[in-house]
Amino acid sequence: MLPLYHENEKNVGDLKQGSRILLVDGVTLSFDGFKALNNLSFSIDYGELRCIIGANGAGKSTMMDVVTGKTKPDSGEVIFGQAVNLLQMDEPAIAEVGIGRKFQKPTIFSGHTVFENLELAIKDDKRFFKTLFANLKGEQRDKIEETLELIGLQELSKKSASILSHGQKQWLEIGMLLVQDPKLLLVDEPVAGMTPSEVEKTGEILTSLSGNHSVVVVEHDMEFIRSIAKKVTVLHEGSVLAEGNMKDIQENEKVRHVYLGE
């Protein structure tokens, strides 16, 4: 039985700067004997911007799958806020409680216009009967316009999302995450395929979000991480190898060995 919505609201608790928003504790997940996650434990604070790095197969995307409800682990605990057990919830319930996700490959709805993509994502009552009669409220429309401006797609708002370039699709998906207004954003490779100026702007957007939101960024682009990161977590073979600020991480022997290949 899925927990009721208002119960979740209560269990998230009072989130303030510095309190814990996400706890991943001892999570293990194996596929046919291969341990994709191996006793993975870490936590994210409210308002924090955290970067997660790791080689291919280190378990970054799998970790996101577990947190967003796509995959259930074999053991361990994932707690959101003070007491919301995410492992008991399905994807829509987890989205509703306030976790948004941007995928590695930009997944936008190509059959819809740019504006409609944002409309679908916007924070609202998402039960099917409500959507049958739903109309955008004034402040929601403003929020979408504001976001369109931020991601630089106002001119294209009435155009089909299928005509966007790769970088524009990335931004549209970031925009969808913004209008969804989640408490915790999981962002998978946001700058892949972007030009340097686009990368810079994405960094600004993500940094400006932290404070009122918690942001977890998974990236390969080390320069980008250096430019935004305060705290970095390194994953290796499904568990945390090291955690700390960028400087410490770069000097860490183990990290140099397994990740930077030195």
Partner: protein, 369 residues
């Protein structure tokens, strides 16, 4: 600013729907008057045969519309939509059977002929209540809707999609066909239900009744179209299309995908059931062949040829293919199935958006140049 009536709002930006339904309205009106006002022999007269044929096409158009709703917008290729149509048809046929009374061959006022023939002494329990037209009509919608709900509940909850789901819908209609072919099911076996005499007190042989059924079929099609268009124009419709294009992404936005699928699937099944109930009195017979997978696949071809994901394309497709079928099966019966197959191949290869796609493409070209 004056608020527009809802009906006009639904048709806003829907030129295709305006044109198709407008043309149909003119045709139905013309046929009605030409049949009733001019006597037989006048060259302006239109035969009752044509009236009935047009009524049948309208029922098929409503069925095609219901399929387009789930296939074109939700991405579920149902290869068993004929089952909902047939169930609706059977429910209404049961009412029509009980109206025959003692005018059957055996003159039994209580039991339809086939039951007398099978030595049944009394009406089976599941025939109770079908002498009341309101109940029968309710069942013509309820039974297909319930089947769609139960089937959808299990299929969508377990996240069966794509080809597997299509095969399951096919199996569903096939199983029902086998069941309805059995004589001891109590639905007339392979002979089906036929020999209807009256509907709501009017003789089915009367021209007036036929014309009335034609008009009712048209109104049902318009209503079905309005409901479908309303759903598609709402945010729910946009969520449905998003599910079609990227189901798992929709879940991460917080929409419970199964509920959306279930809602549209059930609405579609109810519409198909109504279409079946309108089909039966006009054609005068229903038998288990309507459950055959072949019929359901043919139905998919109508929608593909007309152009899926447009609603009015489904109506066009249903008319064109069924008109061609009527023409070929009397003029060149041996050619028809090849022609249908060939048409499907040509459309799939060269007109992925169906006949509607040709018109739209030309419009785009002129708009650019």
């Amino acid at each position: 600013m004056k608020r527009k009536p809802m009906i006009l709002k639904i048709f806003e930006n829907d030129r295709g729907g305006q044109i198709v339904l407008g043309v149909l309205a003119v045709v139905v009106l013309y046929v009605t008057f030409a049949n009733l006002l001019f006597s037989e022999g006048s060259f302006l007269h239109i035969s009752t045969y044509t009236v009935t044929l047009l009524g049948k096409y309208l029922a098929f158009a409503l069925l095609a519309l219901s399929l387009d709703l789930v296939w074109g917008y939700l991405g579920i290729l149902s290869l068993g939509h004929g089952a909902f149509f047939a169930l609706g048809g059977y429910a209404w046929a049961m009412y029509l059977m009980l109206q025959i009374g003692d005018r059957g061959v055996y003159g039994n006022a209580e039991l339809p002929d086939f039951m007398v023939f099978m030595n049944l002494q009394e009406l089976p329990w599941f025939w109770y209540g079908f002498e009341y037209p309101l109940f029968a009509f309710f069942m013509a919608m309820f039974v297909p809707g319930l089947l769609a709900f139960v089937f959808g509940w299990f299929a969508f909850k377990s996240r069966v999609t794509g080809v597997y789901l299509s095969i399951m819908t096919q199996a569903l209609t096939y199983a029902l066909m086998l069941a309805f072919f059995r004589n001891d099911m109590g639905f007339g076996g392979n002979n089906g239900l036929t020999d209807f005499k009256d509907i709501l007190g009017f003789s089915l042989q009367d021209d007036g009744t036929r014309v009335l059924l034609l008009i009712l079929s048209f109104l049902a099609l318009v209503l079905g179209y309005l409901i479908s268009r309303y759903i598609i124009n709402s945010r729910l419709g946009r969520v449905a299309m998003a599910i079609r294009d990227g189901e798992s992404r929709v879940r991460f936005l917080g929409y419970r995908v199964e509920s959306f699928k279930l809602f549209i699937f059930v609405v579609s099944a109810v519409m198909a059931g109504v279409a079946g109930a309108l089909y039966v009195p006009q054609v005068g017979i229903i038998n288990p062949n309507l459950f055959s997978p072949l019929f359901s696949i043919e139905l998919v071809i109508w929608v593909a040829i007309g152009g899926r994901g447009t609603l009015y394309g489904a109506i066009i497709g249903a008319f064109i293919v069924n008109y061609a079928s009527t023409y070929f099966t009397s003029a060149l019966p041996e050619v028809w199935l090849y022609a249908l197959g060939g048409l499907f191949v040509v459309v799939t290869l060269y007109l992925p958006k169906g006949i509607v796609g040709i018109v739209k493409k030309e419009k785009n070209v002129t708009a650019v140049s």
